[in-house]
């Protein structure tokens, strides 16, 4: 029966080793997502209830929101979902290389979304004077969208781990050296994402305040250099020396991660409508 394991003939719709044919990892992910629905349900209720009864003198969201920015990040998140779906199809066909590229793009889009959120929060705090504590609107808004943001961040981190994991050698090759490299690889990738995010935010900031390119490079040089360094390290590590043991059989891992990622996307679909759009009516 384990015949299909050897050759690339894994049926991704049916796992004969389970009673229902649904792989365990997929099932646990769907159950977790059902649970997460309740989690966001509670957060969204909190926000909407307080929007229903705003405290006197609370800020008007319409004046605060930037529809352009939010629409853009919504669009980005949708695209990341597309890339995630493609990554899953790729690995299901055993195409590790294509999957890696799709994962990287997903990470990229995810990072842009996070960047937009950081930018948005900063804008609200600094320019619109809405902080976590100075109004109920701020409290529930930051808590809800921040929790969603944490979900995205966890997703990005997971994507990074999965990407790095796709270079994992066979058992015999797993030495302390590999463990260390693995760790460095992850750190470099996380570093690249963070540094690029802040470098870009810095660029936006410079543009806003009318600074010059020179000024930008002067003040953000270390970030940009760090980013380049991280990318270089990543490229260095991305040479699969030994044969990786990541393949079609791991499709289920990528798939459950994908489910999580898409779920974060649909939560945003709800938030976009219920938190942002409704306010404009």
């Amino acid at each position: 029966m384990s015949s299909h394991a050897a050759a690339g003939t894994i049926d991704h719709h049916h796992d004969p080793s389970t009673s229902t044919g649904i792989p365990n990892k997929k099932l646990i992910m769907w159950t977790f997502l059902a649970s997460d629905c309740m989690f966001f349900g509670a957060l969204i209720s909190t926000h909407l209830i307080y929007r229903l009864h705003p405290a006197p003198g609370s800020p008007s969201p319409k004046q605060i929101f930037s529809l352009e920015l939010t629409s853009f990040s919504t669009f980005i998140l949708l695209m990341s979902s597309l890339m995630m779906a493609l990554a899953v199809t790729a690995i299901q066909k055993g195409n590790v290389k294509s999957m890696r590229w799709s994962l990287l793009t997903t990470i990229f889009f995810g990072a842009i979304f996070l960047g937009c959120q950081v930018y948005e929060f900063e804008e609200f705090v600094k320019l619109k004077n809405v902080t976590l504590t100075n109004s109920m609107f701020g409290t529930t808004f930051y808590t809800l969208t921040g929790t969603h943001g944490i979900h995205v961040a966890v997703g990005v981190f997971w994507l990074i781990l999965m990407y790095v994991r796709s270079f994992q050698p066979h058992e015999a090759g797993r030495t302390f050296g590999w463990l260390f490299k693995n760790f460095l690889h992850i750190t470099a990738l996380v570093g690249a994402v963070l540094l690029s995010m802040f470098a870009v935010l810095g660029a936006v900031h410079t543009l806003h305040t009318g600074g010059t390119a020179g000024a930008y490079f002067a003040s953000y040089f270390s970030m940009i250099a760090g980013f380049v360094g991280c990318v270089a390290v990543c490229i260095g590590f991305a040479q699969p020396k030994a044969l990786s043991n990541f393949g079609e059989a791991n499709a289920i891992d990528v798939e459950s991660m994908g489910l999580y990622w898409h779920f974060v996307d649909i939560v945003w679909i709800v938030i976009f409508t219920a938190v942002y759009l409704i306010e404009y009516l």
Binding site: D11, I22, M38, I49, T74, I266, T273, L281
Partner: protein
């Protein structure tokens, strides 16, 4: 809703899989368009309830497309759909009930 699952591994890898790329891109485009419609929609001069209903419907459509295509519930066992919908329905129901409770007169906060 969900196609019966074939037990033959070969079939699963057949032409149906090949076209998934196309499907995904189409869905993504559709989602982008709907989002655009939503954004435009809020500026239309209709009664508020019309727009709200419209927005809710459009979001639900988006929602369903993502879960049925990107999350491939459409191709999975129906059980996954049921499982997720238990959480979804309970969550939606609870949110609705909470909002309803907080909308009645007795729930008006006492601001002094």
């Amino acid at each position: 809703m969900s196609a019966p699952v074939s037990t033959s591994p070969d079939h699963a890898h057949g032409h149906e899989e090949e076209s998934k790329f196309q499907i995904y891109v189409n869905v993504a485009m559709l989602l982008a368009v709907i989002t655009g419609v939503e954004i435009v929609g809020i500026y239309l001069p209709f009664a508020k309830w019309v727009i709200v209903t419209g927005l809710v419907i459009l979001s639900v459509v988006k929602f369903l497309y993502v879960i049925f295509y990107f999350m491939h519930l459409r191709w999975d066992k129906p059980f996954c759909t049921i499982l997720f919908f238990i959480g979804l329905v309970l969550s939606a129901g609870t949110v609705w009930a909470l909002l309803a409770i907080f909308s009645v007169k007795d729930s008006l906060p006492l601001q002094t």
